[in-house]
Symmetry: C2
């Protein structure tokens, strides 16, 4: 009978492996980046500000939990999410945090200081206005992420390219920007520049993953 209990613990232990993988802020940041696009260890280290060695160790932890997988690419090793279910899990975890922990809302206000500054537009509304060519949709994420999948009709517009876009985009249309989702500042930063130039702007809070999970299509480069 004790063995039955042991087996039960073994089962819960396996589930806890996934939990452990999700229990460090560093690893979650890595997971979040990988949700947007696959990357090498060095790229991830640079983007997160962690040391290479530390990044590698966290990635191996994620790999051990089968949340990510690797592929060799010359002298580089590229990490990617092991399955779409993983980004769903990450999304569900964030939803629970947002719903249950009120500090999340405050932390988000601190991090995204322009969070309440811009008009919001929802996915459904955006689709309508895209069809009537009423808006210009911008993807504020780094180019690699845009290339790995973006909303249909979106232009790649990382912050470095905005100066140029200010002159090339029609000034009679509303500029709508999105990035990695509600916990990402990139779109806010892009919109701030357009707003400063007197353009009509709006933010889509959803990212590509949320868009996809809602059943809409995604374009690839």
């Amino acid at each position: 009978m004790s063995t039955k209990h042991q087996q039960k613990i073994q089962l819960y232990d396996l589930f806890a492996q996934i939990g452990k993988a999700l229990s460090s802020p560093g690893r979650l940041e890595l997971l979040d980046l990988l949700t947007q696009a696959s990357r090498t260890v060095e790229e991830l280290a640079v983007e997160t500000g962690m040391s290479i060695s530390n990044t590698s160790q966290h990635l191996q932890r994620l790999k051990q939990a089968r949340l990510v997988e690797t592929e060799r690419e010359g002298t580089f090793i590229r990490y990617r999410l092991a399955a779409p279910a993983v980004s769903e899990l990450w999304h569900t975890l964030r939803q629970v945090a947002e719903q249950q922990i009120s500090d999340v809302d405050q932390a988000l206000d601190a991090y995204r200081e322009r969070r309440h500054e811009f008009e919001r537009i929802n996915a459904q509304n955006l689709r309508l206005r895209l069809q009537s060519r009423d808006v210009v949709l911008l993807d504020a994420r780094p180019t690699v992420e845009y290339e790995s999948g973006h909303l249909p009709g979106a232009l790649s517009a990382p912050i470095e390219t905005v100066e140029q876009l200010l002159t090339s985009l029609p000034d009679d249309k509303t500029i709508v920007a999105y990035c990695r989702g509600p916990y990402c500042v990139l779109a806010d930063e892009v919109l701030a520049l357009f707003a400063q130039a007197g353009r009509q702007v709006a933010r889509l809070e959803e990212g590509v993953i949320e868009w996809q999970m809602a059943g809409y299509e995604v374009s690839r480069a």
Copy 2:
């Protein structure tokens, strides 16, 4: 600029709080029990085999992460899930584990030795056969869990009551049993007794939570 990075880490740290709460097998077992029904500290300690003190500490950890909440009931304190989203999170985590970690399947075979012994019936099929009064549906969980919510038409049938049910239930109908879900042995144990008595049996792998998440209704005592 460093402060911006700090704020980002703070945000991820909050998400990691949830991950940490999900990172211990003991806590997951508690969470799983609470998914079925609210309970007092002592009840949870008895069911998990953990010491009262240890149980209390784990519960407080879950409470801190806002996954559970408490209510005083005389000298007892009753713990319950803080929101339905929590059981969805737990369900999603298990799904990822099952999908990604092959050891889960093996551990499950070891824990549920009769897993492949009984015919399976899915939720859709069950609904049809219930309507035509073709089957008897049994809830193999402890009474408290049955009372806290069960499938419409199910009879409460924890293992202690099976001997009596063997004589009182019609022997021309298939006995279908379910319990907490695919990671629970209770239904197997009940079905084994009915099968031994020569009855036609089948198992529904889904538990009340899965049934509910599929959009079906749930009865309360």
